[in-house]
């Protein structure tokens, strides 16, 4: 874990430089939406309404919320299969995401993709990829297109500490630096590649250093602290928009749940998880900062809690009401008709 930064000190009551209340409340709301959405997804999975693989983002919310706060219109996002949080953070509709989880026609992929495969051209969210590490060259290609089209947009290319050992990640680092592509490689280091702790899988566990031999700069960030994420994200975005090429942000984070729904998580202790939740929870941190600095009162937070709860309930309802895809959908979308 990176040391708790300024934000945590602020949480302790000091009147440090905090962003305006409006912004802080947005972080709170966006992270809470992801948390509650994922809890609901876990519940629906338990009820048999969601099948297959379902990888929850609970615990990691600050990473995507902090970075999306640095994005501008047209910036692209691509990630692995632990992707619900990224979709919500890019502004995709919670009902459409949940209905995809239940395999219904109202889902973002008409029920044909599932938890791991959703996309939104409108929100510049490019998936949702199930092969560990494969999204890294793809994200690099999105950045290639941004540069080719002479835009000043950037691509946020997310992957985990597990992906970080795939060869194609380094092929991508090499070409991205060679061609100065505007891509931010966000390594969400949640410490476990499925069940393998980072120390057991990585000869160089400081993943932000993994770009060194290509000249790709890297930085380790407290990924449980949304303000630290935001601050690092701003620097990274500025680096990319200035045409300086790719950059790596290693986000030190933690997932509270198992790798997927079927993971009993025997590889780590209950105490480890509980300690993380108690001391580093990203939502609690923002909550403390808001209340401790009188940026918001309990009432205001309660109102957000209710708003979020309503959105998630509506999404869950929609996901159950939306019909299954028509059997004829089996044969559509294999090819684009020329």
């Amino acid at each position: 874990m990176a040391k708790p930064g300024k934000a945590a000190e602020a949480a302790a009551g000091k009147k440090a430089k905090l962003p305006p209340a409006q912004e802080m409340l947005r972080y709170y709301r966006d992270m809470l939406l992801i948390r509650r959405f994922e809890e609901k997804a876990g519940q629906l999975y338990g009820m048999g309404l969601i099948g297959g693989f379902c990888h929850l983002y609970i615990g990691q919310e600050a990473v995507v919320v902090g970075l999306q706060a640095c994005a501008k219109l047209g910036d692209a996002v691509i990630t692995s299969y632990r992707d619900h949080g990224h979709m919500l953070a890019t502004g995709m509709d919670a009902g459409g995401v949940m209905a995809e989880l239940t395999g219904r026609i109202g889902g973002y992929s008409k029920g044909k993709g599932g938890s791991m495969h959703m996309f939104s051209r409108e929100k510049h969210f490019y998936g949702g990829h199930g092969i560990v590490g494969a999204q890294v060259p793809l994200g690099t290609g999105l950045a290639f297109a941004q540069k080719y089209n002479k835009t000043d947009n950037v691509t946020f290319c997310y992957f985990g500490d597990g992906s970080a050992n795939q060869g194609q990640v380094y092929e991508s680092f090499n070409m991205a630096e060679l061609w100065k592509l505007p891509v931010i490689y966000v390594i969400e280091n949640n410490q476990y590649a499925m069940g393998t702790a980072i120390a057991r899988s990585s000869a160089q566990p400081a993943l932000y250093k993994r770009g060194e031999s290509f000249g790709v700069p890297g930085r380790q960030v407290d990924g449980m602290n949304v303000l630290a994420v935001k601050e690092a994200g701003e620097d990274a975005v500025a680096h990319c928009r200035a045409g300086k090429g790719p950059i790596i942000l290693e986000m030190m984070t933690y997932r509270y749940r198992g790798h997927s729904m079927s993971d009993p998580a025997k590889y780590r202790s209950k105490e480890e998880v509980n300690k993380m939740r108690a001391e580093h929870d990203p939502i609690d941190q923002v909550r403390s900062m808001l209340l401790g600095n009188s940026l918001a009162d309990e009432e205001a937070l309660k109102a957000i809690d209710k708003e979020v709860k309503d959105i998630v309930q509506k999404a869950a309802d929609f996901a159950q009401e939306s019909p299954e895809p028509d059997p004829s959908e089996l044969w559509t979308d294999v090819y684009v008709e020329a």
Binding site: A76, I78, G107, Y108, S109, K110, G111, K112, G113, H117, M118, F119, S120, R121, Y126, G127, G128, H129, G130, I131, A134, V136, P137, L138, G139, T140, G141, L142, A143, F144, A145, Q146, Y148, N149, G167, Q168, E171, S172, N174, M175, L178, T332, D333, V334, Y335, V336, E337, A338
Partner: protein
């Protein structure tokens, strides 16, 4: 002691070349390592060094001569004193390549003309061009037409293409659109796919499809499936192209035909033309297609010349086979270089009174089943011809399809002629045995005709 200096073979598939320039004249003394001549192959211009000391006695082939066959004597060298007689056989040894690479055993007319395509308007003029030129013209025309189209791959830009397919394109389109990549197939295939998701129309060249195995996960899992997984939102307009199948004497890891592999995948289109006209028309169609297209070329075909229609915008539709030769007694169906073998076999069969119909599939997926079935309804017999391995191959697919769609029309079992079920050997004689041969096709055709 006089030594014959022979025209050297300077690439695995070279059978002839142009003697572009002599740097020595009769009477000159040369030492081993001296550059004697400049030889143009279809891929590159190469310098040719002396391997012996001596005096050039006579130049046999003047500079500027084109089409000089490998192993033709091009000059006479008189060895001097002890040094010369000490190594008299050296030059011969150097160029004594196995008489002819296996693939060259196929008789290849300089220009193939018997390829009438009913879709080409009557009165169209034709120009003669090589397959290599046809692909280049097709790509260049599409790049002029659409600024989103770009070419990336190993050695496509400054080197002018490992097989000279992209020669001159860097000059015309610049380094932003003709891009040399590092040797990193999985990485640049993925980058191409990502760029296609991002709205570009990449052409990704593999130096050979043998190397695409490094990238097949990206081609299958990312390029082919994403449209479906996204409920139709995320199309991937990309072309993967490069030489496929055997060249000559390059052994098992560089000689495989991947048509069957890629044709297995819903979401991909797979194209494998034979004639230059089809290469041109189909590469244009592939670039315009909104789906990922695997475009299989063939190194041995690159230098072969065909008549190409002189039309402003010649596009051949993907998914349509072509009757390359009409006949009534037996159908021969193949793709890529195997079409040439089938046409040669048809010629031999005609001498024995058997009229073979030859179908050039052109596209492997989606396969033009109707054209095959129609032909079988007429001939009632069919032989499939492919360079790939037999198991789960294209011939196996056609056989199964005919069981389903034309069972009652078959008067003989569907018969496959394929590459042999072994990794490609290096030895010249073994390679020849491993590849499809014309006598094998003739024998199979006669067998299904019960003759």
């Amino acid at each position: 002691m006089t030594i014959e200096i022979l025209m050297p073979a300077l690439s695995p598939t070279m059978t002839e070349g142009k003697l572009a320039k002599w740097f020595v004249r009769a009477g000159d003394t040369v030492k081993a390592g001296d550059i004697m001549a400049e030889i143009e192959t279809d891929k590159a211009t190469m310098e040719f060094e002396a391997v012996d000391e001596g005096v050039i006695e006579k130049i046999l082939v003047p500079e500027g001569t084109e089409g000089v066959a490998v192993n033709t004597p091009i000059a006479m060298l008189r060895g001097e004193g002890e040094a010369a007689s000490a190594a008299p056989a050296a030059p011969k040894t150097e160029v004594k390549a196995p008489a002819a690479p296996a693939a060259v055993a196929v008789a290849t007319p300089t220009v193939t003309k018997d390829l009438a395509d009913p879709d080409i308007p009557a009165g169209t003029q034709f120009v003669t061009m090589t397959v290599r030129e046809a692909i280049r013209e097709g790509m260049s025309e599409e790049m002029r037409r659409d600024p989103k189209v770009y070419l990336m791959g190993e050695e496509v830009a400054q080197y002018q293409g490992a097989y000279k397919v992209s020669q001159g394109m860097l000059d015309e389109f610049g380094p932003d659109r003709v891009i040399d990549t590092p040797i990193t197939e999985q990485g640049f295939a993925g980058i191409g796919i990502g760029a296609a998701f991002g709205g570009l129309r990449p052409i990704v060249e593999f130096m050979t499809f043998n190397f695409s195995m490094q990238a097949i996960d990206q081609i299958v899992n990312s390029a082919a499936k994403t449209l479906y997984m996204s409920g139709g939102q995320m199309g991937c307009p990309i072309v993967f192209r490069g030489p496929n199948g055997a060249a000559a004497r390059v052994a098992a890891q560089h000689s495989q035909d991947y048509a069957a592999w890629y044709s297995h995948i819903p979401g991909l289109k797979v194209v494998a033309p034979y004639s230059a006209a089809d290469f041109k028309g189909l590469i244009k169609a592939a670039i315009r297609d909104p789906n990922p297209v695997v475009f299989l070329e063939n190194e041995i075909l690159y230098g072969r010349s065909f008549e190409v229609p002189k039309l402003d915008d010649y596009v051949v539709p993907i998914g349509k086979a072509r009757i390359a030769r009409a006949g009534k007694d037996v159908t021969l169906v193949g793709y890529s270089i195997a079409v040439g073998h089938a046409l040669a076999a048809a010629e031999k069969l005609a001498e024995e009174g058997i009229q073979a119909e030859v179908i050039d599939l052109r596209t492997i997926r989606p396969m033009d089943r109707a054209t095959i079935v129609e032909s079988v309804k007429k001939t009632n017999r069919i032989v499939t011809v492919e360079e790939g391995f037999p198991q789960s191959g294209i011939g196996a697919e056609i056989a199964a399809m005919l069981m389903e769609e034309a069972f009652d029309y078959l008067d003989a079992p569907v018969t496959r002629v394929t590459g042999k079920d072994v990794p490609m050997p290096y030895a010249a004689n073994l390679e020849k045995l491993a590849l499809v041969t014309i006598p094998e096709i003739v024998a199979a055709a006669k067998a299904v005709c019960y003759r």
